[in-house]
């Protein structure tokens, strides 16, 4: 028997193919379905029972054991609660980043290694490269398929964990190839659609989700330039910088959210596409994490501020303690909602990143 691998299996196409590939490569595979927390909301139907059944079918087909691990508590506490809390404070977080840090490469990894795994694997589109120094942390690289690359969600995972991680589909150059490889192996899953959105929110949408926990609070929608009240909203926490839809200002030009003040419960908007609140030449990053364990040297880098977003050239400088950083661009870029992740690359390598801080320029000016 080969090395013992615990594979996170979701019932989707990518982890199904990962399982098949690991089996073919001679690993001793144990598949694990992580049962996540989901909210009991009207209109919300968590598909997990069907996903589990799909995962089970693939596991049976490949002759692999499938275990079901209850990750509800970790998920609720470190992902769902974090999400609500961040929104309440005017941030727009990436729950997937948290989920990977605390659930998949946190709880799952720890338990797998405790139960005797030599390695863990997931169906992420990402690649790893060996450590540069003997015994040092492995490096995280973007996947061969630049469109599907998921390293954006992995920047908070330490490099020492990647030493023991396999990404079996990271080398595939397109999702079409992945689906074809599933079909070739008769896994019966190749036509299953990609999942998107936040799994525990699903089709009800973030608004319904937040309003189940946070109280509605009537407030004003104010024009940034003039301070004029243009309309009303049901809670500033429901709005995100850059948002255009859902303002309900009754006609007029398209307006964009340029800032939200969750304390005073005000949403600032502008009709001016060139409004300084919508553009910036730098992002301040907080709560930074560096995959190798130490901050990278200042200098040129590539930055990505949303999953599958463009990789932009920028200049990086990091604070002495490594906890905060600044990325500066030569040309102005669209501002990004505070709370989103900015992920830093050097070439193909993902070196870490930080959480985008609120734009100091956009403090209310009344």
């Amino acid at each position: 028997m080969g090395k013992k691998v615990f594979l996170g299996m979701s019932g989707g196409v990518d982890s199904a193919l990962s399982c098949a590939l690991l089996v073919e490569q001679g690993f001793d595979v144990t598949a694990v379905y992580m049962r996540n927390w989901s909210k009991d909301l009207p209109g919300f139907k968590c598909p997990w029972a069907e996903d589990l059944a799909d995962a089970e079918r693939v596991a049976v087909k490949l002759g692999v054991d499938l275990e079901v691990w209850d990750c509800e508590k970790e998920y609720k506490e470190t992902v769902a609660d974090y999400l609500v809390d961040a929104y309440a404070h005017g941030y727009t977080p990436n729950p997937d980043v948290m989920c990977n840090q605390t659930v998949k490469f946190g709880t799952f990894a720890e338990r797998a290694f405790k139960e005797g795994a030599d390695l863990i694997a997931t169906g992420h589109y990402a690649r790893t490269a060996p450590a540069l120094t003997d015994g040092g942390p492995a490096r995280l690289l973007r996947s061969a398929d630049e469109h599907k690359d998921q390293t954006y969600f992995l920047w908070r995972v330490p490099g020492t964990t990647f030493n023991r991680v396999l990404f079996p589909v990271g080398g595939y150059s397109s999702k079409t190839d992945v689906r074809a490889a599933c079909a070739e192996r008769h896994l019966g899953i190749e036509t299953k659609p990609d999942s998107d959105g936040i799994c525990f929110i699903g089709p009800v949408g973030i608004r319904t989700f937040l309003l189940d926990t946070l109280e509605k609070r009537a407030g004003d929608i104010v024009e940034w330039e003039t301070g004029k009240v243009l309309g009303h909203h049901e809670g500033a926490f429901l709005f995100t910088v850059g948002q255009r839809k859902g303002l309900d200002l009754g006609g007029g030009p398209a307006r964009y959210v340029v800032a939200t003040d969750t304390k005073e419960n005000v949403v600032y908007v502008t009709a001016d596409k060139m409004c300084p609140g919508l553009w910036t030449k730098e992002h301040t990053l907080e709560d930074c994490h560096w995959i190798p364990g130490t901050a990278p040297e200042a200098g040129e880098c590539l930055v990505r501020t949303r999953h599958t977003g463009p990789l932009r050239e920028a200049r990086l400088s990091v604070s002495e303690d490594g906890k905060s950083a600044t990325v500066s661009f030569t040309e102005p870029v669209r501002t990004v909602a505070p709370g989103q992740s900015a992920v830093i690359y050097r070439g193909l390598e993902c070196v870490g990143g930080g959480i985008i801080a609120p734009d100091p320029v956009m403090k209310p000016r009344i």
């Binding site: 589990l52 089970e56 596991a59 049976v60 079901v68």
Partner: protein, 395 residues
């Protein structure tokens, strides 16, 4: 036998509508589509046919037609019964989810069962305090097939009712039984069962889904769950399901006519399947009472401890055999079946258990073939788990 033939062995979950039942129903979906409450001749004919169906249903269970509430299946009938209770409700721990969930909304207690699923009469006697207004115990359990001593329970209820009355107590005491899983095996006569309320479903007896009935003794005020046009004596609003009621009546008549013979036939097939599987896997465990008389004849609840039923179902599906695992509800919610928990089955037994239920279309050949396919799937999975298929222990 054709090795690719699909063999369906989950009749406790759903039965196909019998051709005769379907034929009887079809006119009411087209030519006779009228609303039975409308005043003109054509609608009055639909109404008359509906009421005739009610009479036929009543006749089959020895009841008066006026005491029948035709509704959308056993779940609704159970909810109607429990929702109408005054005082505390006692329900058997192994009842269907619809009974348990309806009881949860009230002051309630669970009646424990023995290892074979039979009611714990001693505890029931203790639980039967003056606050209790309703007891709900199914005639037969759909998961492990246990048949309950409903007449003994009815006797106890009658005694308590008497003494309650003698002591000047005003609280009524009713006995409800969900007989939906029992119809194919047991005679259903409300008078001889001595119950006060009874649930039946068309879906388990080769009739349509979403059709059922609640029979309630004179003097029991059923509280409506739905408000509206006041159909079914104001207890169940909504345009009458004429096709459903007619189909239900046909299905119940046929079930009654064939019951003795069919139950005997299914029991023979079930025993054969059980014997073959136990011979091949002596370590397998069969749940439910040992005595054939106390167990539904067409049901085999068999567990292969150490194996996972979830996987066996997939392996069997690949081999063209459809069976259930535990209860359908438990399977989708991924927790141990409450029935197996109530009887105190070990977790390994619960995880490895299949519910195999037979029905009228199942032939001797099917059972022979199913035994082979199930045997092969169990053997394959046991080997993969490193177990000796003969002993169920690590090889």
């Amino acid at each position: 036998m054709d090795a690719t033939k699909e063999i369906y062995l989950d009749y406790a979950a759903a039965t196909p509508v019998a051709p005769s039942v379907l034929r009887a129903m079809l006119p009411y979906m087209s030519d006779m589509f009228y609303n039975p409450s409308a005043p003109y001749r054509l609608a009055r004919k639909a109404k008359a046919d509906y009421e005739e169906a009610r009479s036929r249903l009543a006749h089959e269970i020895g009841a008066k037609p006026d005491n029948l509430i035709i509704c959308a299946g056993a779940t609704e009938a159970n909810n109607l019964a429990i929702n109408s209770a005054e005082g505390r409700v006692l329900v058997l721990a192994t009842e269907h989810e619809s009974v348990l969930a309806a009881a949860e909304a009230k002051d309630h207690a669970l009646i424990p069962v023995h290892r074979d699923g039979r009611v714990d009469m001693e505890t029931l006697e203790k639980l039967l305090t003056p606050e209790v207004g309703l007891i709900s115990i199914s005639l037969a359990n759909g998961e492990i097939g246990t048949i309950q001593p409903i007449r003994d329970i009815a006797k106890l209820v009658a005694e308590r009712r008497q003494s309650r009355l003698a002591a000047g107590g005003k609280m009524p005491l009713w006995l409800h039984t969900d007989a939906s899983q029992a119809v194919n095996a047991l005679a259903i006569n409300v008078a001889s069962l001595h119950v006060d309320m009874l649930t039946l479903s068309a879906a388990k007896i080769y009739g349509p889904k979403q059709v059922g009935l609640l029979w309630a003794e004179d003097g029991i005020a059923i509280k409506p769950l739905l408000q509206g046009g006041g159909q079914e004596g104001g207890v169940r609003s909504g345009t009458e399901n004429v096709a459903g009621a007619v189909g239900f009546a046909c299905a119940l008549e046929e079930a009654t006519a064939h019951r003795t013979q069919e139950a005997k036939r299914e029991q023979k097939l079930r025993d054969r399947l059980q014997k073959e599987l136990l011979e091949r896997f002596p370590w397998a465990e069969v749940e439910g009472p040992k005595k054939a008389k106390l167990r539904l004849p067409g049901l085999l609840h068999i567990s292969f401890p150490g194996l996972e039923a979830r996987r066996l179902v997939i392996l069997l599906e690949d081999r063209g055999v459809s069976v259930g695992t535990g209860s359908a509800c438990a399977a989708s919610r991924m927790r141990e079946s409450h029935v197996l928990e109530a009887i105190g089955a070990a977790p390994a037994v619960a995880d490895g258990s299949l519910r195999i239920t037979l029905g009228a279309p199942v032939t001797e050949e099917d059972i022979e073939e199913a035994a082979a396919r199930i045997g092969n799937a169990v053997e394959e999975e046991a080997r993969r788990r490193g177990l000796d298929p003969r002993t169920g222990k690590a090889a």
